[in-house]
């Protein structure tokens, strides 16, 4: 019961702030509401028993990505002129709603193979670490590729903004 209530509250918060991000004219406030959307999603991870991911969500999205976005907003000084719509204002809305309707129809029609829900959820941190870094689970190579990707992104960002 508590889980259901928290799901609906967090879902409402996430959808509401996501809508506000898209619809608000003030870019700075949009970024702040994006942060509240990230928090709501971290809460949803908690309701799904993903404790480690919820913390990483706050750490990465709120602590790093949101701060970078706010920094970019400060540097580009476009908050006052706001975030205008492009020509796709109506077309985009139609396309998005159509896609949403199609997805919901498919999700409702699909017979999902839901596993036995009586299992006791354990803390996920140790399990995630073991599965990411033991050769048997097959995630070691993706893990290393992700590290290379991060390095490349850091170097790319430096090269792009470095003043000549």
């Amino acid at each position: 019961m508590g889980l259901a209530i928290s799901f609906w509250l967090l879902a409402a918060a996430a959808v509401g702030s996501a809508l506000a991000v898209v619809l608000l004219r003030n870019v700075f406030r949009a970024a702040l509401l994006l942060i509240s959307c990230f928090f709501a999603i971290a809460g949803l991870f908690v309701t799904l028993g993903a404790d480690f991911l919820a913390m990483v969500q706050v750490l990465v999205y709120v602590g790093a990505i949101a701060v970078l976005l706010l920094l970019a907003i400060m540097l580009t000084r476009e908050a006052a002129t706001g975030s205008p719509f492009s020509r796709w204002r109506i077309g985009g809305a139609i396309a998005s709603v159509a896609l949403l309707a199609a997805m919901i129809a498919v999700f409702r029609a699909t017979p999902w193979k839901v596993a036995d829900q009586s299992v006791v959820l354990k803390p996920t941190t140790a399990e995630l670490g073991a599965r990411l870094l033991t050769p048997e689970s097959g995630f070691v190579l993706p893990f290393e590729i992700a590290s290379v990707l991060l390095l490349a992104a850091v170097l790319g960002a430096i090269v792009l903004v470095k003043e000549k």
Binding site: D51, M55, L59, G63, A64, V67, M74
Partner: protein, 363 residues
């Protein structure tokens, strides 16, 4: 009875945090006074003990001003966003462990929630406060506020990296992310086992909470009062109390991670929350000592210190701890000897190299 336990702990944490913040404000002024050979505030109440109360009353009576062209709602919300994480940190801090202690014994650790991702929780929560600073700087519609906020971002983002890397060493040595398990793992306090990690964490945390010598957010001569320039009354008080609450939080976390929390060193006396509180005061005194001894650094020096000094050292520390973990040395007294010697050597060598690059003094 879970909810009863939660209510009791919320009350305990609030009382603990607020009374300690008051005590810290008074102690800071008195102790810094002593360092500077002057008495400090000593008029209100016995030995000036009521000075924080007088300050609070004064500040609450002042007018609460919002800049005319600022973003009103963001301006009002900012102090709350900056202050709340300071209290949230204490949710996972264990005050006393399970089992018999001094005076009474407990059937479970005395913490609001002994999360199994406690360390991650602390790192995540403390990264929120920077958002409050950005909000304050932006919503004030004042260039000094904005510049202060930009400095805050640069400072917090840079010091977060060595800070987290130094905590990873602790996590490797104790094999857990839960703060209570970390305390229980410290038969030898981690300050002895990882002196380099302690140094990096302490300096990084001092910078993260904007205390001297890294308090250039509040460098009056350069940027007025940074992001609190446009704040007054109650909202200014929230920023001000928030800073001390963060100092309290950092003291508590250093006590838990490095000084053995509620344990008496080497288990000579039974565990008790009294040792934990004593360690908090010890760490806070260390901060005051640093503050009264060192001059403020410049912004470029500060960034260089994070990226060129602390970051390489924290990587070295991590490598060292990991190597000891997988080798036969383990985390015993042999490792203590090796690590203390290596820590001194690394700090001396790297500080020399850091100070003199190409014969000129750099930051």
């Amino acid at each position: 009875m879970d909810w009863l336990r939660w209510i009791i702990f919320v009350v305990i944490i609030l009382a603990f945090a607020l009374s300690f913040v008051m005590a810290f404000i008074l102690l800071e002024r008195r102790i810094v006074g002593k360092f500077q050979l002057r008495p400090g505030p000593n008029r209100v109440g016995p030995m000036g003990m009521l000075q924080p109360v007088a300050d609070a009353v004064k500040i609450l009576l002042k007018e609460d001003i919002t800049p005319a062209k600022g973003d009103r709602w963001v301006h009002r919300l900012a102090p709350i966003v900056a202050f709340a994480p300071a209290l949230l940190v204490f949710a996972v801090v264990p005050f006393q462990g399970k089992g018999p202690g001094l005076g009474f014994s407990l059937d479970q650790p005395a913490a609001l929630a002994d999360l199994n991702v406690g360390v991650l929780y602390i790192v995540a929560v403390s990264s929120i406060s920077v958002i409050g600073m950005i909000m304050a700087g932006w919503a004030s519609n004042n260039k000094y506020s904005l510049l202060g906020a930009m400095r805050a971002i640069a400072q917090m983002v840079s010091y977060e990296v060595p800070l987290v890397l130094s905590i990873v060493g602790i996590v490797i040595a104790s094999g857990s992310l839960s703060l209570n398990s970390i305390v229980e793992a410290q038969s030898i306090p981690f300050i002895l086992l990882q002196p380099l990690g302690f140094l990096i964490y302490f300096l990084g945390a001092t910078a993260e909470i904007n205390r001297a010598p890294f308090d250039l957010l509040e460098a009056e001569s350069e940027i007025v009062a940074s992001y609190h320039t446009e704040y007054s009354g109650m909202r200014f008080a929230m920023f001000f109390l928030g800073e001390y609450a963060y100092a309290l939080g950092v003291s508590a976390i250093v006590s838990v991670l490095f000084l053995g929390g509620y344990k008496f060193p080497f288990g000579l006396l039974p565990q008790s929350f009294i040792w934990f509180l004593a360690k908090i005061f010890l760490v806070f005194f260390l901060m005051l000592w640093v503050r009264s001894t060192l001059p403020r650094v410049r912004i470029d020096q500060m960034m260089a210190f994070a990226w060129k000094f602390l970051l390489p050292l924290s990587l070295v520390n991590l490598l060292l701890v990991a190597a000891e973990g997988v080798s036969t040395i383990g985390f015993g007294w042999a490792a203590v000897g090796i690590n203390v010697i290596l820590a001194i050597a690394f700090v001396v060598i790297w500080a020399n190299r850091f100070y003199r690059v190409k014969g000129v003094t750099v930051g």
